[in-house]
């Protein structure tokens, strides 16, 4: 019950953030109507309330904070792949560096996922994409699960390469170049629904046949659900090799102590008032 209260409180504390998110979304909606909507999900429902720490990195000697909203702005929207890439990078960095803040040019990311959303995210973080002001650059590569490297990272080529995407593509190696330490972030089974990739193929590529309007609606809602998972679920629910935090043991002794003090105090108080009344 008290946890619930805390949750509620957290949500409300985020209210201004939500307001910002809504404004950003309206702006996005307007801008995306103008720009191409190729990889985007038109008419997707608004983002849920979420609270993700930004990724902090050193660009030379400047400390910069990259939030998921920044990446959403860069890409055009916060999508499934962008959200996933952001969380994966965050996890990877914390696994190899702990609380240390990495330098941009010390990060290398090898992604198995050929999609514009994840590309924009990784390029934004490593400073390798077009139109990013940066003093230093990290490294970002796309190598498919079968080992072929995708050299041309244009939307068109990525889209083509992403046709057969499966859960297998959702693996990302985050490395620290100076020490050679790497951590492979692997997405858990069940984050995507079973029919997600089949539906995606039908809806986006018409393979094996064009999707019906019902299938399109289903895909849209699954897409939204998955996106929301990347925004709101804890790491251990999304990725392999992350331990579920243990629940805190309830403090029975502390509670019992307090309760007994309370009860004894109450009895004493009643006795005192009673004896006073009698005396007078």
């Amino acid at each position: 019950m008290r946890n619930e209260k805390r949750k509620v409180q957290m949500q409300s504390a985020k209210l201004p953030l939500k307001a910002v998110a809504i404004v950003a979304l309206v702006l996005l909606a307007v801008s995306s109507a103008v720009i191409s909507v190729d990889a985007h999900m038109p008419g997707a429902k608004p983002l849920p309330e979420f609270e993700l720490e930004p990724i902090s990195i050193y660009d030379g000697d400047t400390l910069i904070d990259i939030s998921l909203d920044d990446i959403g702005d860069y890409h055009g929207e916060i999508c499934v792949c962008g959200g996933c890439a952001f969380r994966a990078t965050q996890l990877g960095i914390s696994k190899i560096l702990g609380d240390e803040i990495p330098a941009r040019d010390d990060i290398k990311i090898v992604s198995r996922l050929p999609t514009p959303g994840s590309r924009d995210c990784f390029q934004y973080i490593t400073g390798t994409g077009p139109g990013i002001e940066t003093k230093t650059k990290g490294e970002y590569k796309v190598i498919l699960p079968d080992g072929t490297a995708v050299v041309n990272l244009s939307n068109k080529d990525l889209k083509k390469a992403s046709k057969d995407n499966t859960l297998d593509n959702f693996r990302f190696e985050v490395c620290r170049k100076s020490t050679g330490e790497c951590f492979e972030v692997v997405l858990k089974l069940g984050v995507f629904s079973e029919d997600y990739f089949e539906l995606r193929k039908k809806v986006k590529f018409g393979i094996p046949e064009n999707a019906t309007s019902e299938e399109k609606a289903l895909f849209k809602s699954e897409w939204e659900d998955t996106r929301d998972k990347f925004l709101t679920s804890p790491d251990w629910e999304l990725f392999e090799d992350v331990e579920e935090p243990e629940e805190e043991e309830p403090d029975v002794v502390g509670g019992a102590t307090f309760l007994s003090i309370l009860v004894i105090g109450l009895i004493l108080l009643v006795a005192l008032v009673h004896s006073r009344k009698k005396a007078s």
Partner: protein, 418 residues
Amino acid sequence: MPLSVDERWDLIDKISKQTVTFGAYKHTLKDAIAELTVKPLTGIPVAIAVIYGFWSFFCDFAGTLFTDGFMVRLFDEHWLPWLQSVFPGGLGNPLYALMVDAGHIENGVLVASDTCFESFGVLTSGLFVPFGVVLWAVVAFYLMFAILEDVGYLPRLAVLVDTVLHKIGLHGYAIVPTFLSLGCNVPGVTAVRPLETRKQRFLMITLLAVFIPCGAQIGIMQDLVPELMGWIFLTLAIGYLGFGFILNKIVPGKSPEIIMDVPPYQMPMWRNIASKLWIRTSRFLLVAVPFVLLGCLIVGLMYLTGAMDWLAAVFGPLLMGWFGVPEETVAPLIAGFLRKDLAVGMIGGLMEQGIMTTFQVFTSVVLLCIYFPCLATFVMMLKEENWKEFLGSIASLVAMVFVYGGLIHLVGIMLGVA
């Protein structure tokens, strides 16, 4: 032998000298405390503390203990699934939809509801709203109200807010009907009678009907959107004072002073409190339950016959354009004619389906408070006011809803949240 006047006076003097002792009255601790609660400098902090106590008790008694603790489990995990499994017809059947669960469309498929807020059947939401949520809210409210009344705090609160309420053509006593209306508007409207002039009664009834949410509604709101409660009350309070000020300027008539009896503080009598609590709560249930059931039935029928879609299509542009709330709000607004608590519950259903932003939820909840009194209050207003005043109340009500609703939307747009 009869005494002369002078002799009589002498006799009185003699007797009184022997029997009466004279001295200055010395304030007791009780008197001193009573004084503290009335002087603004000390009285306002005390009032803040008292209202804090009132509100926390209300939230924990109604919300944490009964509604969240037991009733939600009872209704959502036992009652609803049981009815869904035994009631003949099943999803899609008109009778089933009316009585148990209308379901909702998800990805083009009709799915069953998970909660009694969503299901909207006479036997599910129709029972959950009054017995699962509202009853406890009302009990908590009237319990605290009776204690404050019996201790003797309420009249002091009236003295304290006298200055503020004078600005809107009322005086301190108006806090009593206002406070009472926070439980239920019906006794609130009746409590307006001690106000002296027609102007004051008119002002008070109109303000009560528009800006004071009842305990039932507050209970549901607290259950659904606890994090918005502060904003909602703030908005309503601003409306209450702002429109009161304006109405006081336009409405002709006088606002004379009245003398109020402020009794000394005393320990409450529990028998007294218990009987008051019983009378008020049982009367409330008698009024509320039939209307909630009827409301569920009417709204269900309107959905089934397509009347709701038609209304939504007709009023949608107005709702979206002027108030900034989606056309789905039509249904709660219709239910709100009968019961506000039911209507807020329906907004809860819409929230769970994820078709409203936080600001839209906020706006529609506030709109629901102000747009029309519930049927029972409406009838009460008819009884308490003459036709001219009644029409005046309704006209000012409509004007206030449009002005204030539009204003809230405008503020939302300016803040970038609408």
